[in-house]
Symmetry: C2
Subunit: 242 residues, 2 copies
Amino acid sequence: MAQNIYDDPEFFAGYSRLPRSLVGLNGAPEWPALRAAIPDLRHSKVVDLGCGYGWFCRWAAQQGAAWVVGIDISEKMLARARAATTDAAISFVRADLGRLGLAEGAFDLAYSSLALHYVMDLSGSLASVHRALVAGGSLIFSVEHPIFTAPRRPGWLVDAQGHKTWPINGYLIEGPRQTDWLTKEVIKQHRTLAGYVNLLLQLGFSLSHIEEWGPTGEQIAARPSLADERQRPPFLLIAARK
Amino acid sequence: MAQNIYDDPEFFAGYSRLPRSLVGLNGAPEWPALRAAIPDLRHSKVVDLGCGYGWFCRWAAQQGAAWVVGIDISEKMLARARAATTDAAISFVRADLGRLGLAEGAFDLAYSSLALHYVMDLSGSLASVHRALVAGGSLIFSVEHPIFTAPRRPGWLVDAQGHKTWPINGYLIEGPRQTDWLTKEVIKQHRTLAGYVNLLLQLGFSLSHIEEWGPTGEQIAARPSLADERQRPPFLLIAARK
């Protein structure tokens, strides 16, 4: 079972103050890139793996999805998600993403934002997603980029000129990484980029698009601190089809 | 036109002394991984992009390929390649990989080892390869890994405990990188991993497998200095089908 860090009080308090928590999808700089990969949702059935506050579920319902299921392991997140909508097309379910028991052929789109790097048995989880999609259905997800998750000691090195460098090591050694992000001892699973892609191919997905996300020039103009993210991508976005 | 560094006397002399030049395919630690992706070559037509000394061309002919075309821009490499075989199934052609004019549907396999990172117009080059493959044909290639090519100053950082770290910067900024490898001012093109993959998908290839190559435990046991390569992958191998 994955660590349920989101129900840790310190983590939850920190997470609640992030722009993506306060503002929703538009508070996440990678959202425009993810959104661009999402097909027309009218009359479609959608599952959101690691739905958090349910921002994406509500957006999907607004786009005309027939029904939307948000899944999360965090009671606190789900309580907020449920309190934020009365839309009968949306339902929230508590479950471990590593132990999904989704109905066969139930969904047109499986979506996941920055959640799958917490899952230990990703192969089992994505096999369940593959079964749960209709033929031609889409899986679209983001995770922390493997370059971001690899290092023993993640954090910028800054030289005398202020140039930033990201210290890679352990890249090919997949497995848990413990970091201090919002609270102590948050455990994420480091996987290589090839690890993600080959798992999808082995499960029978075909790859549609991958993006090693970095900010656009426009985003950097609006928020200059984002410029560092072009030195190494913080997020990996993947779109695949069954 | 790509820089023809292989005809530089200092570079050529250095390259000639590398294990992969002296021993051939088995002198390249990534060869077993590349080989595993190669389909049965009996009666097939093969093109090798950046064939160098022609080791792969000769191997492909030994595997039963009906004919093999080796392409390279370096006169010196081609002279050695031609001198090393009298096999009528093999021919060598001098051409710039950035300006390929391959016949339509002429090949079952396009192969390339550590050459495409020299090509400026990779899109034009791989579009030509796509046209030149039969339906169901394979493209299998290796390049220096984007993590390897990205940095302004490539080279290990070593801490007091001897731990090695690779300094990433400029990863999302694609374009030329000038390094000193075997001689001064060798120019390679840095592309992101997503850049390679999405280019293939846009051209109509489907992705079969990618590998961020690192040494196996057995290889490290035989040659302990290879262990560092698990800290960050030196090579990217990609297999795709038309």
